[in-house]
Amino acid sequence: MTSIETHVKKPYEYGWETDIESDRVPAGLSEDTIRLISAKKGEPEWLLEWRLKAYRHWLTMTEPHWPNVTYGPVDYQAIHYYSAPKQQQAPKSLDEVDPKLLATFEKLGIPLSEQKKLTGVAVDAVFDSVSVATTFKGTLREAGVIFLPFSEAVREHPDLVRQYLGSVVPPTDNFFAALNSAVFTDGSFVFVPKGVRCPMELSTYFRINAAATGQFERTLIVAEEGAYVSYLEGCSAPMRDEHQLHAAVVELVAFDNAQIKYSTVQNWYPGDEEGKGGIYNFVTKRGACRGKNSKISWTQVETGSAITWKYPSCILQGDNSIGEFYSVALTNNRQQADTGTKMIHLGKNTRSTIVSKGISAGKSQNTYRGLVKIMKGAENARNYSQCDSMLIGDQCGAHTFPYIDVRNSTAIMEHEASTSKIGEDQIFYCQARGLSAEDAVSMIVNGFCKEVFRELPMEFAVEAQNLLAINLEGSVG
């Protein structure tokens, strides 16, 4: 396989920067910073109080260091907590949006203009700390679906936001959730009313552009009784030598018979081959299946970030509710990932499925960490977990740390994990059939991840497959 070793590594495709004047608050974090962010967003008094409370609690907390990752200290005073592209006033329609911004998203493959917008997918485009455009607002409004940038939702539907904000991930939940609660800037708010099946896929694309900023987005999705929504999230950032912090919070709430499908393709800048630069991706994602027969499904493809640290979780409260977690985490060069899920079974006949595929290459470390907790009242709960790791190269590491805690004897749970090298005989077979080694590896890796890709919406599945192929280039050998 030495011939492939010489293969030139393709650089990070989204590493360019948009030259745009930005309005950003000075670096540093204090109550004044929070007041300033809140004022810039024109927020009501209760939200400012909520932020300040979270901030005061955050001050009493210490940064956790239990995950299986190592990184230098984060200087929270060196970060700019708010950065927005300068605009005269809020654009009323797409025509008023700075063409530079539209071009940025077009270059990223997310056309926002009327003629070109993706059919069947409504997009909310977030640039640094603000949302720049949201497509298909009208069509969605007709269906009764609210899909708005978070700051707009606070203005237009304060009661709904107030009711659900922090109800799944309380501001005091953990260090990064507390930080996010204090300084969060933008994100998406989705509300699907009773009995409505959202007519199209909803999608938010996050772009970090400005240097030395952190992105702290907040997403909240509520599906009322019998509602259905599928939400996609994508992201990228320019290549820079210093690390940037991204600490998001995502909350999902599903009531009786509701279904939420949340898919992520995470492609933040991973840093260079020596581990210089890259995003620290410290995210809290949690969904609550509050109602009977509700279902929350997380699908994630993690290929970017210098350090990924996230555990999309499900709290299965309602009887017969279902939680799913499908994940592909790919690490290359010096990337580190500590990711997995938590499935907390509270209701009767609750079911959860975990399928996690980890691929480590180069000098990276890839960890699956998960918790399956079946509480006393969760009669007939069922869990199936499968965690497979693939190693490409002899200097990477793959680790599996599942925690299983069962307090009900009628529960059945199974956990399986395996770790192995990419099959040389399989590569040989493909090569004998005329495929290049690189294509063979890509094919084997895609086959390895098939169970997860199957869960992704069509457009994303294609993107994810290409992403894996790009990120693996040069690592085979």
Binding site: L391, P402, I404, R407, S409, T410, A411, M413, K421
Partner: protein
């Protein structure tokens, strides 16, 4: 926070008490141990005093609270021989008397009058205190079990006095099982013993070794054992460990083995007794082509708590390892399993399989499983699996359709669950003894259920 404070103080008090006990023990001439042993102890007590007792906030102790141990004041136990001790030894000893290799330790101290040792050439079995005078023990004692890794190991090392010493010479094959019987005598006040065992198998040695822990009397006592096992090149060793402490006992133990090139080590552990057990089983494959099997079974009832922590470390290439731990939990008992497989950089061609199955027989039983893989080499095959649940209703239905009544079907399935581990016992008489214990346990559960 205020609710926690008294407990914390208690643990600190317990540590201070143990340090004071150590000082009295050391000032007493510490039973005339050689200076190197005294140094070993002094280093260990410092480490223990620094670390203190673990709390459930420590990742390694998340599911096991040692509070019942820290709450009790344990005095250092002394050895006495009574008719009850003789009976207990006779009950577990196997083989024809006269041909036996049975060494007996009462409260951690070797008692030669109870032991029957017809030693073949090249084999030493006896007291660690006696062996500590020689060079062999000095070379190995305290080299494997790391006091900084576990406060209980540190405590055992601080109070190291006596225990089992076994040395099988180069190319010697021992044709009978070596039996080490550890009897704990509960006195009028709670006592603690710290048996320290060292088993050395030179290149090409072959032996089976059985450790049996039994308890006499009703009062609480605490056994805190540490075993170090060294296998030379090509050595083949089967090690069995049967823990049948009294229901009021506490049992904390660490076993650390290191294997040389192409050696084969099989360790089978059984836990039936004690109210709180924590057993750390660490095996290091430190020579190419070494093979290791670690199996375990716990059958629990009432409020028993067993925590098995295993670490299989593949330090060298071309080593296969297998691990199966099964647990059967009735009443309000609780089983914890944490199995870690570490593949060190360069340990290529590692092939490791780990399985943990848990059977919950009662609604209040609880199990926690934590299989872990830490892999730093690429050309490896590692798998782990964990299952947890009640008896399979389909299997029950099948047996009922064949005419078995519910109780019989249930017992058969439960026993089958344990038999997976019992089958790895190749010493016939021990197997018979263990089958008896498991059957008795299941019958007892059945009686309780029907009444």
């Amino acid at each position: 926070m205020t609710a926690v404070a008294p407990q914390t103080r208690r643990a600190e008090d317990a540590v201070a008490q143990l340090v004071a006990d150590y000082e009295a023990f050391a000032a007493n001439g510490a039973a005339g141990a050689p200076p190197w042993v005294q140094e070993l102890r002094a280093g260990a007590i410092r480490q223990f005093a620094e670390a203190g007792f673990p709390s459930t906030k420590d990742e390694e102790w998340r599911f096991t609270s040692v509070e019942p141990i820290t709450r009790t004041r344990f005095a250092v136990a002394s050895a006495t021989v009574s008719a009850a001790v003789r009976r207990a030894v006779e009950e577990v000893a196997i083989g024809e008397s006269g041909e036996r290799l049975v060494a007996v330790y009462v409260n951690g101290r070797f008692v030669s009058e109870l032991s029957s040792l017809a030693l073949p050439t090249g084999v030493t079995i006896g007291s660690l205190a006696a062996a500590a005078e020689g060079d062999v023990a000095r070379q190995h004692l305290g080299r494997l079990a790391d006091p900084s890794a576990n406060p209980f190991t540190a405590l055992n090392t601080a109070f190291v006095l006596d225990g089992a010493f076994v040395h099988v010479g180069r190319n010697v094959a021992v044709d009978r099982a070596i039996q080490l019987v550890f009897v704990s005598l509960a006195g009028s006040e709670p006592t603690v013993s710290h048996p320290r065992n060292l088993y050395l198998f030179d290149d090409g040695a072959q032996a089976s070794i059985i450790e049996q822990f039994v308890g006499i009397g009703d009062g609480p006592y605490w056994t805190n054992a540490v075993t170090e096992t060294v296998l030379g090149e090509n050595a083949v060793v089967d090690a069995y460990r049967v823990q049948r402490e009294h229901d009021n006992a506490f049992h904390t133990a660490t076993s650390q083995s290191r294997q040389g090139r192409s050696s084969v080590y099989t360790s089978v552990t059984f836990a039936f007794g004690s109210r709180l057990t924590r057993y750390d089983l660490n095996a290091t494959l430190d020579g190419e082509g070494a093979e290791c099997t670690i199996n375990g079974l716990s059958v629990l009832r009432d409020e028993q708590h067993v925590d098995f922590h295993t670490t299989l470390e593949h330090a060298k290439p071309h080593c296969p390892s297998w691990e199966v731990f099964n647990g059967v939990y009735d009443d309000r008992s609780r089983g914890v399993f944490s199995g870690r497989i570490i593949v060190r950089p360069g340990a290529q061609r590692t092939d490791s399989k780990q399985t943990n199955n848990n059977l919950l027989l009662s609604e209040d039983a609880r199990a926690d499983s934590q299989p872990q893989l830490e892999i730093y080499a690429d050309d490896v095959k590692c798998t782990h699996g964990a299952t947890l649940g009640p008896i399979d209703p389909k299997a029950m239905f099948y047996l009922r359709s064949r005419g078995l009544d519910e109780e019989a079907a249930r017992n058969l399935l439960t026993f089958g669950f344990g038999a997976e581990i019992l089958n790895s016992v190749s010493v016939e008489e021990l197997r018979t003894q263990l089958d008896g214990i498991v059957h008795a346990r299941l019958d007892e559960s059945a009686r309780k259920r029907s009444s």
